[in-house]
Amino acid sequence: MFSNNGIVILLTLLIAIMASITPMPLSVDAFRPDWVLIVLVYWCLALPNKVNIITAWVMGFILDVLLGSVLGVHACAMALSVYIIVVNFQKIRNFSVWQQALIIGVLSAQYHLVVFWLQRFLSDVVFLPNYLYPVITTIVLWPWVFLLLRRVRRHFRIK
């Protein structure tokens, strides 16, 4: 993972983790996009030999520790979402950016639903529609993250 400037991948993931835990006002917080998921999906599409399900699981685990949820919940959801990308990466690569954004939206919804189901299984949480607000921001954010990370990848010649 660290050969050919692979350390940059790790840096982008770290920044994504920080972005997902920085304190925000309550009204904005409901719309916080899934930074870690977006960045992971990009690297999985671009370099599936470097970033894989295990990476996604470890990132999910760190999120679990940071968010204080039951260990393994976010890890499991993250791994499931990234699995779909890893299996279909050659197809998804050929889609246009907006089509990709819709797919990422579905993935993000699946991620939040898996987290919700696991939490529901462990404690008596009830479903509120605003648990799915991040899907909207994630869809809007994908093209920009895609362009930015592609630039980063070409600049540092990460292979």
Partner: protein, 298 residues
């Protein structure tokens, strides 16, 4: 591009491995509570990340605190002075009342309440996870924080310590769905349990009979029964009482008095109380009481 045919393990194999790992983690973390120490270490490991993520917000508050006009500061200062005078007067009154209370309690040979040690803490970050209500504070084992320690702000009870790291720890709020706190109504001493609802402005009281004397606007204070929270701190105010006879129990909701959604500074209360002198006092007192009763008998 690396060759795609000689990959070691297939994605499906990796997924099964990873899912098994998560299942094991969820089981051990949720059901066995055997991960408490490991969680402490993990919390200390990731606390630099939390401090870094908190840096932008801290810079903003620093800037807004530094860019104030002189007039504003003077006004604030005046306000604080007035407040201090006011509180000082109250403290004097309280001192007399406390002494009196202690004397009465020792006469009844019931244990005297000791002083509670307090510690100041500042909030580091709020969870973005909508399923749990937790915040992280900037105190850890290095400062003597322990698990289960009660936390309050200037208005009332906020929650208790959940996981302790070396320099930061996690507070579970009273509105979290897995949290409950024993309370009593200040007006008449009726005991209730306030369970979190997962909504920031609502606590639920289950299993309260229709005939119970609860009114909207009643203040609920900690009853000190569970042994976790000291007695008498305000928790919430009743906002809704619905006695629908077709249901088994009354529906009662209350709203926390602490401003849980805009926390910044908090107080941690310690269990280590200065009991020594008061305990001796009560002993000698009960001794003298016994002596006097003996004297009376003889």
């Amino acid at each position: 591009m690396n060759p795609i045919f000689n990959q070691g393990t297939s994605p499906a194999q990796r997924l099964t491995l990873v899912l098994l790992c998560s299942a094991a983690l969820i089981f051990f973390d949720h059901k066995m509570a055997s991960f408490e120490t490991a969680r402490g270490y993990l919390q200390s490991l990731v606390s630099p990340l939390q401090y870094m993520a908190n840096a932008p917000k801290q810079m903003m508050t620093w800037a807004s605190e530094n860019i104030v006009i002189r007039q504003q500061l003077m006004k604030e200062n005046q306000h604080f002075r007035e407040n201090e005078l006011f509180f000082h007067e109250q403290a004097m009154q309280l001192d007399i009342v406390r002494q009196e209370n202690e004397r009465l309690r020792s006469l009844l040979s019931s244990p005297v309440r000791g002083e509670i040690k307090k510690m100041f803490a500042e909030i580091l970050s709020v969870d973005s996870d909508p399923y749990s209500h937790q915040v992280v504070i900037n105190r850890g084992t290095n400062d003597g924080v322990y698990e289960g320690q009660p936390v309050l702000d200037e208005k009332g009870i906020v929650g208790q310590i959940l996981h302790v790291g070396a320099s930061s720890s996690r507070v579970i709020l009273i509105s979290d769905i897995s949290h409950a706190i024993p309370v009593r109504i200040q007006r008449n001493g009726l005991r209730l349990i306030a369970s979190g609802s997962g909504q920031i402005d609502r606590l639920i009281h289950n299993f309260v009979a229709h005939s119970a004397d609860v009114k909207e606007g009643d203040l609920l204070v900690t009853s000190g029964l569970g042994g976790k929270y000291p007695e008498g701190y305000p928790v919430s105010r009743v906002v809704l009482v619905r006695t629908d006879e077709s249901r088994e129990f009354a529906t009662i909701y209350s709203q926390p008095v602490a401003q849980i959604d805009r926390l910044r500074y908090m107080l941690l209360l310690s269990k280590e109380t200065t009991k020594e002198p008061s305990a001796e006092a009560s002993k000698t007192n009960s001794g003298s009481l016994k002596n006097s009763s003996k004297a009376g008998k003889s």
